[in-house]
Amino acid sequence: MQYALFLFEDESTFFSLSEDEQMAIVQEHMAFSEELQAAGAYVTGVALEPAETARCLKAKGDIEDGPFADTKEQMGGVYVINAGSMAEAEAWARKCPVHKSGGTIEIRPVPDYGNA
């Protein structure tokens, strides 16, 4: 079963870090991805540009600047992983750098519609 991990963090914290510190976090994500791969748990992962770059297409056809949810923490990336249960997905989330630096991770099961 696949699970998506949506990573939420206060972007301003990340951008207030020095370049070396930012690179260290990127390295942690790479190590996390490698760990997922070594266990056969990695499906995919993407990092996102800052929330201010987002544009939203509204139902009426209008385009608005900024992310859909205007919150203190912004979505910064997504991992999709293989896990045997929600508990196992949670165990992976605990190892994610975003959790270690105080962010929130939303974990959602990805339904399997049988096409592989």
Partner: protein
């Protein structure tokens, strides 16, 4: 052990014995070497085919396991030569060089490490949909064909074949490692292996007459897999719990039918026919598991069976204890069996309304084709005095049951007025 003039029957028996005892071990070893389940299966099948032609002529080798391993490795070289794609060639060639590095004595000796646990983890990997775990395990660890699995699980061979093909494609695509999972998810992954073995066991148990072996279905295989697993994860309480559960149920196999092959429900069974050594082993396992203080679904289910087993000594069944255990079990699993068992226990305690409510709340989609549900509902209706509804439920249960003895018993319940 090499016989001078072996008959073809001897050779065939030896090959079958080897297939039964070391198929999984060889598959594990080959999969570890080539990182390719399909290739491992192909070369092992070829090796067994050579055994069947070579052993009658030259005798059964001293060490059939080592012989088969060598034969499979040779087949892998052939396969690599024939292979069209460079990728497969590279995969097969690299480990072969590694094999060549090993000293001949070691190469010819017994396999130095049993890697069946890794193979079980591979089969129950979360990249593969859970319903395929059991089938994949039966095929790779025990050497079942898609037809064998289909016969035991009442699915069509085509459906099983498709499921297996898809599972193997996912294994290859996801580059699923042949390894023991990391610490932080190991317990969860062992749980997936246990679920797959449990599914194999229950498919055998519910189709006593329809399994791969008409007498025992997949029960023997499940028991064997559990023994193999426990040797490798001796510190897992739930693994001990599941083996205890299987042993308690298997201890009653002889008592489940009378001399005329009629079905006898648990409460009417002659406890003298129960297999005492199995009960003793189950009790010991459950006690060991309990000491670890990690409760779980399988330990609770085994505990329920332990209470039933106590009837052999006490002559009575402690239904209120069973009821408490079922109540606790509901928090650990949403399985249909656990709820149906709970409802049946409530009936034993005279709580007909509670039992009926519990049954009626179960999702229709999951129980409409499930014979035990309709059998227990039949009892509930009968106890409540609704004879017509009871009769209809028992008939429905009978129609969903393939085992003749159980079906006859259900039909008899339906005609009782």
């Amino acid at each position: 052990m090499a016989t001078p003039e072996p008959s073809e029957t001897d050779a065939r028996a030896a090959a079958e014995w080897a297939a039964r005892t070391c198929y999984g071990k060889l598959m594990a070893q080959l999969t570890a070497q080539y990182s390719d389940v399909t290739l491992a299966e192909d070369v092992l099948a070829d090796a067994f085919a050579s055994a069947l032609t070579t052993w009658p002529e030259r005798g059964v080798p001293e060490n059939p396991e080592a012989w088969l391993m060598k034969a499979a490795a040779r087949k892998a070289v052939d396969a690599a030569r024939r292979a069209d794609t460079a990728a497969r060639h590279a995969r097969a060639a690299r480990p072969l060089m590694m094999t060549a590095d090993i000293a001949p004595s070691e190469r010819d000796g017994p396999l130095n490490r049993d890697r069946r646990l890794e193979l079980m983890f591979l089969c129950a990997h979360p990249a593969i949909p859970a319903p395929a775990h059991t089938a994949l395990m039966l095929q790779t660890v025990l050497g079942f064909t898609a037809e064998d699995i289909a016969a035991a699980t009442l699915e069509s061979p085509a459906a099983v074949g498709q499921r297996l093909t898809r599972a193997k494609r996912l294994l290859a695509k996801g580059r699923i490692p042949f390894a023991i999972p990391p610490d932080h998810i190991r317990q969860e992954r062992i749980a997936a292996v246990l679920r797959a073995i449990y599914a194999a066991y229950t498919s055998g148990w519910e189709n006593i007459a329809g399994g791969a072996d008409p007498e025992t279905g997949l029960a023997t295989e499940a028991e064997w897999l559990m023994r193999c697993l426990i040797r490798q994860v001796p510190d897992n309480a739930e693994a001990k719990g599941l083996l205890a559960l299987i042993l308690y149920c298997e201890s009653r196999r002889k008592a489940r039918q009378d001399s005329a092959e009629r079905y006898i429900p648990l409460t009417d069974q002659d406890t003298a026919l129960w297999d005492e050594p199995r009960i003793a082993e189950a009790t010991a396992l459950l006690t060991e598991a309990g000491k670890m203080q990690v409760p779980g679904r399988f330990q609770l289910e085994a505990a329920i069976q332990a209470v039933h087993a106590a009837r052999r000594q006490t002559g009575r069944t402690d239904w209120s204890m069973i009821c408490k255990l079922y109540e606790t079990l509901q928090a650990f699993t949403d399985s249909m069996g656990a709820r149906i068992g709970y409802a049946a226990t409530l009936l034993q305690l005279g709580k007909v309304d509670e039992a009926t409510d519990l049954l009626n709340e179960m999702p229709h989609k999951r129980i409409s084709q499930h014979a035990p549900f309709w059998a227990v509902r039949g009892h509930a209706m009968k106890t409540a005095g609704d004879r017509d509804e009871a009769c209809e439920n028992f008939r429905h249960a009978a129609n969903l049951t393939r085992n003749t003895a159980t079906r006859d018993w259900l039909l008899a319940q339906a005609s009782k007025r």
